[in-house]
Symmetry: C2
Subunit: 412 residues, 2 copies
């Protein structure tokens, strides 16, 4: 039974007042493919972002940071432009120039300055961005701008993704209803930090820049920074959170506002939904695994052990084979780098089956029970470290023939 | 063109005076397979070892450390017993008991104490060691003991290895000739520290325990601790260095002895040969890659970046596909964790082809040249960091369909 993959129902994706989206085909990698997205934001929108920590960050990431830093002087971020098919990474000064020219062209057509544009690219690294092709179709994307284009936008930012990733929800704040809608793309080079993906989430709630930053940090830490497909951190990861304020209400200035937590939780849950969708659609994935590490001294060591399990090719191939070869999980716990771990205190569950305790296999464990859990498409692994109260959860997928196939043939 | 794999020529494997080897079939995993090895050492042999740093270390690793620690009181290590088919790891107190009983049985038959035996196991984790089967065939192994059994011993310790790994060389020390011979096994869960494998190397030179320790640390750091197949550190890794002193000469007491460096270098070169053989025979490997990182501030950061490249599934699948998708190498350099790296100073060569410089693709680079290098079975990758004089070399293999197949079907 393969992991459940379904594109979002377009009717479930609620427009966000103050956000319009337009799509175009530039033929960057394949002719006819929709590969350019423009998002236009209402004046006075607040925009914040988190970006890859890869030292080889792409040219558009460098420009995004520059433009976000300058937003007070420039009049604020008013549009985003995204292309797939080419990452504009490992392209040096020439890559920066091409990204700047793309921003300048869009700015000219929208009556903005280039610094009010955030550019994003995803695709192959180390090849020159064919920015002329992008610039040539910006008029098409602008002509297509409308609030109801979220499903089409989710499609347009896909690379090796099988399904589009989008989600939407309403949140009531002090009796008024607001919308949160977001899209994301995976599906290889998925490992924090940052989220190794593109994500764009918007709300019409009015939020100060500082409060929006705090919400984004919290939400990313609980969502995109808890997933891994292959342990590779991309050069282009970007997650953008937009608050248009287009639906009138008093501005949420900080976490002292009683509406802050409700909005933060709605955005966090939406980002978790998108992050899990990326893992379910991990390259070649046939299984979805939730790895929960409990009983640690702090969240960091729980996450460290969770990631050691989630990244192990031996663990991932065992899940692909539905083989309860659970010693591989214990081995990963043992080499995760928590050097004073007492292995005799560790307990390991597969689903609700206690597999290991007291440094070895649990006396009551029957392999048939382990095999039954392994046969499922969504599997929970739980490890208790027996040394504290901290908890962390990490999501990942299995490692299949198709992972190798997709990545061996990526450029063909 | 697949990577070159050939078993060692048995005639090239020189007996080591003071070491006898005997093989037997216990039928631990498969009936009829030779899966037990006994090595008997001359009295007064010096024996030193390095072991996995996995917190879930196997029962035999625990016993090895105990027995090596006690060697002065016990009369010294006089025999080794190795089984494949079961790792006796994640087996708790019961696993220790079974390993102790195996040692006691061998000791009784050889007129030794149990503490003079070192036990080793490799195979599936988390299942009880069928030590009765091993004990039952110890008389066969003892009857088979002879100095010329190194090729058979290399065969007997194989698990998923395709070819046996053994090497031998002569070294002249102060006009006298000595022998160094060793065997090793891989081929999954290959990542330091320690070497994620079993290795047994012996010489007939007379060396003090302290000098032998220093030689082992040096040699392992330059060999088994420079390889990775899948980034998984095993529970059972052990590398043992034996000096029988059976060929008479003054004892090499420390590195002040002019013979120390010659012997150290001979042992290091032999261990590099065995370590590279493990990578060439990595599970599913079709390519062998040497990754040399130069121009770092210290060896540690060079190794860190070398391992980030060597472990990346995206890099490894690109090599499998012979696709010069070299941006994946730059991405791995960027996320290796050296946070103050100046990417504009980095140069990347594939073979002798300069691929990237100044933060992007080298102006003279032609993809056809990259493709020509990628088509070879043995490939050199060289990265220059432009920030110092340190160098480190790491060896790895590609990531193929067969890696997934071997590890998905490991227990079937």
């Amino acid at each position: 039974m393969p992991v459940h993959l379904a594109p979002p129902d377009p009717a479930s994706l609620l427009p966000v007042p103050g956000v319009e989206l337009g799509i175009a085909s530039a033929g960057i990698k394949k002719p006819g493919r929709k590969d350019v997205l423009v998002m236009r934001l209402a004046p006075d929108s607040e925009v914040v972002g988190v970006f890859t920590q890869n030292r080889f960050c792409a040219a558009p990431v460098t420009l995004c940071k520059e433009h976000l830093h300058d937003h007070d002087a420039s009049g604020g971020i008013r549009a985003l432009v995204v292309n797939t098919g080419n990452a504009n990474a490992g392209t040096g000064e020439d890559g920066l120039r091409r990204a700047r020219e793309t921003c300048a062209s869009l700015a000219g057509q929208l009556g903005l300055s280039a610094r009010q544009i955030l550019p994003f690219s995803t695709g192959v690294i180390l090849e020159p961005l064919p920015h002329d092709k992008i610039v040539a179709v910006l008029p098409d994307a602008i002509a297509d701008l409308k609030p109801a284009n979220w499903a089409e936008a989710a499609q347009a930012i896909m690379t090796t993704d099988i399904v589009a990733k989008a989600a939407s929800r309403k949140v009531a704040l002090d009796g008024r209803e607001f919308v949160v809608t977001g899209i994301a793309k995976g599906s290889g080079m998925i490992h924090p930090n940052m989220a190794t993906m593109l994500g764009f989430v918007a709300t019409d709630a009015p939020v100060s820049c500082e409060a929006l930053e705090a919400i984004l940090r919290h939400a990313v830490n609980k969502s995109f920074n808890c997933i891994t497909v292959d342990g590779d951190t991309s050069t282009n990861d970007s997650c953008i959170l937009i608050a248009t304020g287009a639906t009138a209400a008093p501005v949420i200035m900080d976490d002292g506002d009683p509406r802050f937590n409700s909005l933060r939780d709605a955005i966090t849950e939406l980002m978790i939904q998108l992050a899990q969708a990326i893992v379910r659609d991990g390259e070649g994935a046939t299984k979805f695994m939730e790895i929960r590490v409990e009983g640690g001294r702090d969240e960091a060591e729980c996450k460290q052990i969770g990631y050691a399990i989630a990244k192990s090719p031996l663990v991932k191939t065992a899940f692909f084979a539905s083989d309860p070869n659970l010693g591989r999980i214990l081995a990963a716990v043992g080499y995760a780098g928590v050097t004073d771990l007492d292995v005799d205190r560790i307990k390991l569950w597969l689903g609700n089956v206690l597999v290991a305790e007291n440094g070895g296999r649990s006396p009551g464990y029957q392999e048939a029970e382990g095999a039954r859990v392994m046969a499922e498409a969504e599997i929970n692994v739980r490890v208790h470290l027996g040394r504290g109260d901290a908890v962390a959860t990490v999501w990942t997928c299995d490692f299949s023939y198709d992972y190798v196939k997709i990545n061996a043939e990526y450029r063909t």
